[in-house]
């Protein structure tokens, strides 16, 4: 059983929801990424989503785009992201790490080489934003062969057939995009999410995480009431962007803890 599945199983037994914070590897610099990952865990993260910076992050809003630019300016690359995960694993063998990024850096490394390299570094899952299932059949097969989970996005307007195809291709969990837009925007339709998530979970037979647009602990709690996992990205990246370097870890940890506390108010209360 994968580290991601083990994590969700444990949380289900505890009646708790998964908190999945996102940061961009190499933002503000490569040296601070492992300390930031540890702060996320200290604040109560269950799974870490680590952004692999790309020059043209089409599905991201301005906050994550700026973070990607900062990271690339400092020379971050997919190979160095794997080094970061390897360094993180020297002290943490429990917290799953999911790499989130775009197809081109993966293809530049080689779709045949990347899955094994990622597994050896200690990566648990990958989410390639611009790889819909039908465009990456061979990649998905080699990801599975390496024992990793591949997470796919599911959109509010995905058709029934697509939902079926995406659920088939996914493992670990499904990532439901909470609205039509890019990361970091701010208009959620809670009723729609509350209606869709239970249907998706039942049909797919795997946990469902919700992300894009979750900006504070109250929203996280409302989403957590229906979803299995809450993904928070832009708000955490904003904390890093606006904090002096030496305070970034503490700021991030405090922010994640606030959300953890709110989410845990749901513990035991079945959705």
């Amino acid at each position: 059983m994968s580290r991601i599945q083990t994590t969700f199983q444990r949380l289900q037994i505890e009646g708790r929801k998964a908190l999945i914070p996102f940061i961009v590897a190499g933002d503000p610099d490569g040296e601070l990424t492992v300390p930031l990952m540890r702060s996320l865990v200290a604040g109560g993260a269950d799974i870490i989503e680590l952004g692999v910076p790309f020059s043209d992050p089409m599905a991201d809003g301005p906050v994550i785009q700026r973070a990607s630019e900062r990271a690339l300016t400092k020379g971050m690359s997919l190979a160095r992201v794997l080094d970061i995960v390897r360094a993180f694993r020297t002290e943490d063998v429990v917290t799953p790490v999911v790499l989130m990024g775009y197809a081109n850096p993966v293809e530049a490394m080689g779709v045949a080489i990347f899955p094994d390299a990622a597994r050896k570094a200690g990566v648990d899952g990958v989410l390639v934003v611009d790889y819909p299932p039908e465009e990456c059949v061979a990649f998905t097969a080699s990801i599975r062969a390496a024992g990793l989970d591949q997470i796919f996005l599911l959109a509010p307007n995905s058709s029934g057939q697509r939902f079926h195809d995406i659920a088939q291709a996914s493992s670990g969990f499904l990532y439901y995009v909470s609205f039509k837009g890019v990361t970091g925007a701010s208009h959620l339709d809670f009723d729609e999410i509350a209606r869709r998530i239970p249907l998706i979970r039942t049909a797919a037979g795997m946990p469902v995480g919700v992300g894009f647009g979750i900006r504070d602990a109250e929203i996280a709690k409302k989403i957590g009431a229906v979803a299995d996992a809450v993904v928070i990205g832009s708000r955490i990246v904003e904390e890093i962007e606006t904090s002096p370097r030496e305070q970034a870890c503490a700021k991030v940890e405090t922010f994640v803890r606030e959300i953890r506390v709110k989410l845990d108010e749901l513990a035991g209360a079945r959705s």
Partner: protein
């Protein structure tokens, strides 16, 4: 729309031209692309739609555009005859309007009241703002701040036409970043918005759809050449950034095996300097950008690198996937000319023919001027003069040390 083609039938159902093309986008855009694909499939063979498209091309854009013999220039070069397909004479001054007219008609039939576009040189932005005004659409155009500085007149033109021009200051602040931003707008406002993409790039069906709307250029040439010059050309030459004017004039000639197809990329300061926009000529690796797999200028880590060209319209790190395929399959050949060579061609056409060409089109012309002297006088080189150069006055003057 494309009965001309017999053996050549690309893209396939999934939008692939050989190994290039496809639909590499976030899931949130898939439903929008499915809707667009469905609408285009319906209307590309709809008689009323095609009649309206043709009518607009004729009475609004001023088509057909003539083919004009560059007599003095050819004489001066002393070799093959240079013929100019005059897309610069279209309404708005470039070939871009052909595609915009088609997509705007599609947008209206799909009930989308708002259109968005990306623009590099500003020609596609102006053409989009133009058709938006004609249909009463709300119009937002994304443009890199670097390009806004280079093409200030076009920015004002778009505003006059009622469009909102949104400056894009991320990345290299050029066409590719404008395209990223337009995609973000589309994914956010997908229910009421039609994205009028300006070139044969992007996710399927854009490379096919933009091509089909632009093939009017080549179809006219197929008829005009025998009428005016007694036969088809020996060579068709067009500039390639994304490659929409080139595919528009090449496509109907693909089955004509005796016609050489030559795409001209921007060599900028020289292929060897790395400061260029010529992924095909420089044999760039395939990569994924803006929704398709194509030849892409990138570093060893798969990051897209900054490109350079004196012409904003060619300043793009990728190229339409069909061009990558035409190169691999050997049906078309691709070369590159430098900023300096393009400028020389620009001045030559002004001087010898009284035509001020766009800097983009000057690249195609420069290639024709290179090969013409090496060929006999009875050979015919058909150059796609994709746009006029009014927008480039500042750039050219600056190069000559002139301030307005």
């Amino acid at each position: 729309m494309a009965n001309v083609q017999q053996q050549y039938s690309y893209p396939d159902a999934r939008g692939y031209f050989g190994p290039y093309g496809g639909v590499f986008v976030a899931e949130t855009l898939i439903p929008a692309l499915e809707e667009l694909r469905g609408a285009f499939e319906t209307y590309r063979n709809d008689a009323a739609f095609l009649a309206e498209f043709e009518n607009e091309l004729k009475h609004y854009a001023g088509r057909p555009s003539p083919i004009c013999h560059a007599r003095r220039l050819s004489e001066k070069l002393g070799g093959a005859q240079i013929l100019l397909k005059r897309e610069d004479l279209n309404h708005t001054g470039a070939h871009k309007v052909n595609n915009c007219i088609g997509q705007a008609l599609l947008a209206r039939r799909m009930g989308k009241p708002r259109v968005i576009a990306e623009t590099g040189a500003g020609q596609h932005g102006v053409a989009t703002a133009t058709v938006a005004a004609r249909h009463g659409f709300e119009c937002v155009v994304y443009m890199g701040t670097e390009d806004m500085a280079r093409q200030a007149a076009n920015v004002y033109r778009m505003k006059l036409l009622g469009a909102t021009v949104v400056p894009v200051a991320s990345g290299s602040r050029t066409l590719k970043d404008a395209l990223n931003e337009a995609m973000r707008d589309w994914v956010t406002n997908v229910s009421n918005t039609f994205y009028i993409l300006g070139t044969v790039a992007g996710p399927h069906p854009y490379p096919m759809m933009v091509r089909d709307f632009q093939t009017v250029i080549g179809k006219e040439c197929l008829t005009q050449m025998p009428e005016a010059f007694g036969r088809q050309p020996d060579m068709v030459i067009a500039c390639v950034g994304g490659g929409s004017n080139a595919i528009g004039i090449f496509y109907p000639y693909i089955p004509c095996e005796n016609v050489r197809l030559v795409g001209v990329e921007a060599a900028g300061e020289g292929i060897g300097t790395g400061r260029h926009s010529a992924p095909l000529t420089a044999n760039a690796k395939a990569g994924v950008l803006h929704g398709n797999r194509t030849c892409l200028m990138q570093d060893e880590n798969g990051q897209v690198i900054e490109t350079h060209s004196i012409s904003a319209g060619l300043d793009y790190p990728g190229v339409g996937p069909e061009h990558a395929w035409l190169k691999d399959s050997g049906r078309a050949e691709y070369v590159a000319v430098t900023d300096t060579e393009a400028l020389d061609a620009f001045h030559a056409l002004c001087h010898f023919e009284g035509i001020i060409p766009a800097l983009e089109s000057s690249h195609a012309l420069a290639q024709a001027m290179k090969v013409a002297p090496t060929l006999p006088r009875d050979r015919l080189l058909l150059v796609c003069l994709s746009g006029r150069g009014d927008k480039d006055m500042h750039t050219v003057a600056e190069r000559s040390g002139i301030q307005f």
